[in-house]
Symmetry: C2
Subunit: 260 residues, 2 copies
Amino acid sequence: MSDRLFAAVLFIVLCGSFASARHSGRSPAQTTRAATSVRPLKAPANGTINVAFIISQDTEAIDLAGPWEVFQDVMFTPEGGPWRGEGEMVMPFNLYTVSDSLEPLAANGLILISSYTFDTAPKPQVIVIPAQGGRSAAQKAWLLANAKTADVTMSVCTGASMLAAYGLLDNQKATTHHMSLKKLQAQYPAVRFVSGARYVENDKISTAGGLTSGIDLALHVVERYYGRETAQNTADFLKYRGELWKVPQFAELREVAANK
Amino acid sequence: MSDRLFAAVLFIVLCGSFASARHSGRSPAQTTRAATSVRPLKAPANGTINVAFIISQDTEAIDLAGPWEVFQDVMFTPEGGPWRGEGEMVMPFNLYTVSDSLEPLAANGLILISSYTFDTAPKPQVIVIPAQGGRSAAQKAWLLANAKTADVTMSVCTGASMLAAYGLLDNQKATTHHMSLKKLQAQYPAVRFVSGARYVENDKISTAGGLTSGIDLALHVVERYYGRETAQNTADFLKYRGELWKVPQFAELREVAANK
């Protein structure tokens, strides 16, 4: 299986077979191949893409702020061209946090307040799940309902354990922080955890490895909506020098042996 | 000037002349050369290094969370060896936020509450200044007093403008986000802004460039306290693939021409 995946990724990289050319009202043309084999995404007709970040106690700072900063820093001119630091600017992603309540949350020393509860949050096109400690019935119900209709639901680090706990990774490929792979594989045998990739994508559910790898997956989600050039412009604005968002596999993909 | 700086950095890189070997109670030996010419730092006798993050409205998410995650993820065994994910673990950095009040702050969509006010914050050994919008007399007084006694005061992105506004960068080398270099140079002519480096260090004041470069500067501050191996272990835990924290110069250093 890992050989086939590796060959498939190589094929995509070498052939550039996912070229596409999509225009939308204010978005630039998407003319470059996608980094992996998942489908490109189409921005909503109104031009705004809602991105909901689920938070709770012990939310990991960089898992939240990495993707947050990526989506926040996608900026166009009103005509859909790259914004160069001068003049009017359009930000297509609308970011907000969602949690059980609006009470302050202790997040490893940071104190966060959610923008919305699960009862009040706008419907998201993208859902981001940082590593965190909180689980609740409202969280589960909201995530199960909204992951169905969202374009992509992505976890960062051990945020994958929330997806796994709610069955959203059953029979799907996934990854998580390298120190948690074996443990989560043992806990959730229906999930196909792999090592060797910065992030792993299925059609609607994606999982990033540890911590900073959430930046790469978020950049790739930007690419799926707006193409390689826009994602590269965003990485440049962020001064992000990593290249693994383009080809996330850094070693042979290996299925993880459970270790209780 | 830029040629001399470039030659100096090259000299340091090529000669590895800053090898040192320092032991402290629970820290590993520091046996590798520092990335730049600034002096190594010594952890306090009680083993805990206070890191204060100044926050206010419009604090930039990754400027805060990047260094936060770096310092948080420095982990030793009780004997001072590298922690490998099992057993007891010691975290030498004690992180907290400090602001004018404990009221909720709107930070580009995130809502933060500070842990301390400027009246109540513990004395820091490290001060981190993310890009942010708030300026106040209490902030200025606290920063001027504490930067004197701290080991290092570091800004991320346009956080450098706070240091510059309070005179802390006068006659010092500095950098900031590439889109703000010329503007800040015009606004603060006493500062020697340069381009070409991921971060720029003086003896006690350091400035990182845009956004994710704060991760690199924080990793280097870890290196100054605990050596290259500990900083590399932290980068590995973070899954951070960047290498510029080791040699931050990526182009010829150039003094910035002011542009009003």
